[in-house]
Chain length 330, copies 2
């Protein structure tokens, strides 16, 4: 039997582990939440949560809670009713006082924090998986706030192996947990499962099935992990968010004056080099990428980000070595 050590991943030692890696022991993931409808018009998650609430399938070794995060937005079939729920989970917003004028989504964020958190506490849910769709051609992405969360990275590696026909990627937003604004940050571990392309307000069977299979595999992995199976180490490519690029806009009206260039549209995660086409203006001119560093585009032409001033995001890729892991025995 290999030597087991209690390993606390620290940033400096995340990327390059010692050649001779030991097995890292981590606590069991007993309490898991599967959330959908955090954005009310991202319908794969909405219908998957409805289906799970109807059928209540049990998974041995895990207590799974299924949550419709924003029922009011689901009812309206809109992203949100007053403000974007998935920007309300910072420490500041979760502790802000509530009055009659407080937007519904801030109240709801505090309810969800009471149900699944409190964020940052020992009582928090062990793992939160929050279901999202995008109009961008991103395949299946796990979106996280850590590049050294071995649980999330191992789950990503497992999905990559078990879903060979789907491009599965790991996106990392380098933001402190206190500043982290999205629902999954309430759990001890957590990620958004972001799947596209699917128009908001539409459910496509292919995308729905991809999400259903993804969630089934996440729960299967957690069950195997809790049962004592050792998962071998390896490498995972991590895409760390670097910056956003906005659309060209009319200086007066702020209306956009160009669309994503046809050569970039649908090519999320294809390396973008200086001089590559970025936008095609509505009058027909091409605008190119001026950045010096080649970077990986993602969230290319995401519907909900027009209002946020984001035409695409850019990431740097790095290869992260992950250790073998196993559940810590009591």
């Amino acid at each position: 039997m290999q030597a087991l050590t209690d390993y606390k991943g620290e940033k400096s030692c995340c990327v390059h582990l010692n050649k001779k890696m030991e097995v890292v022991c981590l606590p069991a993931l007993s309490r898991v939440a599967v959330c959908g409808g955090t954005h009310g018009n991202e319908l794969s998650g909405v219908y998957l949560v409805r289906e799970r609430l109807k059928k209540k399938e049990e998974v041995e070794t895990i207590s799974v809670v299924t949550v419709m995060s924003n029922p009011r937005a689901v009812q309206l079939c809109r992203r949100y009713s007053e403000t974007d729920l998935n920007r309300c989970f910072t420490a500041a917003t979760l502790s802000s006082p509530i009055s009659d004028e407080t937007p519904y989504e801030i109240v709801r964020a505090q309810e969800l924090n009471a149900l699944l958190g409190p964020k940052g506490s020992d009582e928090a849910t062990d793992l939160i998986c929050d279901l999202h769709n995008t109009t961008a051609n991103m395949g299946l992405c796990l979106i996280t706030y850590s590049d050294c969360d071995w649980i999330c990275l191992h789950i990503c590696k497992y999905l990559q192996k078990e879903m060979p026909s789907v491009p599965v990627r790991y996106i990392h937003f380098d933001i402190s947990i206190s500043e982290a604004y999205s629902l999954e940050s309430v759990g001890k571990h957590g990620f958004a499962i972001e799947i596209g392309p699917q128009p908001h307000g539409v459910v496509r069977a292919d995308i729905f099935n991809m999400m259903k299979e993804g969630v089934r595999l996440v729960l299967a992995w957690i069950h195997h992990f809790n049962s004592g199976i050792q998962f071998e180490g390896g490498v995972v490519d991590v895409f760390t968010m670097v910056k956003n690029i906005d659309y060209p806009r009319d200086p007066e009206t702020r209306s956009i004056t160009a669309a994503i260039h046809p050569q970039l549209q649908d090519r999320d995660f294809c390396l973008l080099h200086t001089g590559d086409p970025l936008f095609l203006t509505f009058s027909g001119e091409t605008e190119t990428y001026k950045g010096e560093e080649p970077l990986y585009p993602f969230f290319v032409n995401e519907c909900a980000y027009y209002e946020k001033g984001i035409a695409l995001s850019l990431a740097r890729r790095k290869r992260v070595e992950i250790p073998s892991i196993q559940v810590k025995r009591d």
Copy 2:
């Protein structure tokens, strides 16, 4: 020179013309309207109209007016603010009294009728082209209320020839002009240009360019026609709407319980036979097409039709012979 007759297309003689067809003479199309933003989140039309309003390109022989149909919905980036504008152009709604409680879109429909109509009158705009997008994989469709409007059918034939890389089709709703509910019914001739797939709230350069080129060709055809060029007759396939099919729904909550089947998704205008897969329920069962007559699906999984109870529409195809046409000299 061929004998020219003043031909008034009547239903009975639309489909099978005499073998030896004469050239039909029709009045010039002097006043044309290009409208967009009738649905505020169908963005190709919104940005094309904005572009046209900025540039004001002139076309000889035609007075073209460019209209943003529903500015309030465009501002909200929603289909409509209170009720679907493109269901407000029936004779009844256009003549209904206005009060403080009248929905914005009914007021706006009456404004547009004053600007571009009045519907059914001699003063009406000669041709209205209204720009729409769909999430369905429909290519470029002209949608009309007539299967014997030689102008619309000739424009369709012209687009089919001039845009060989785009599937161009002609859809016919068999509804009387008085009952016809959409904006283009206000003109003497008219059609919606419906292009997809594009998510609502998103503009894709490929779809935008297809629409831009379509509108350019429509205006070019009208200019050629007004200039006296004779257009040779031929045949056009017309898809006449037969019926709509709704999603399977939970009898209590009315929530949908299935998505369009993956084998039907994106296959608009591919003939559907008895027993072909129609839906895949969220729990994994296939539901098949029970109709006895093979029909052509269109508007398959259109986002805006979930609330209207339409998962797809079905059409019968017929081949319509169209005569040669030429402008009537004064």
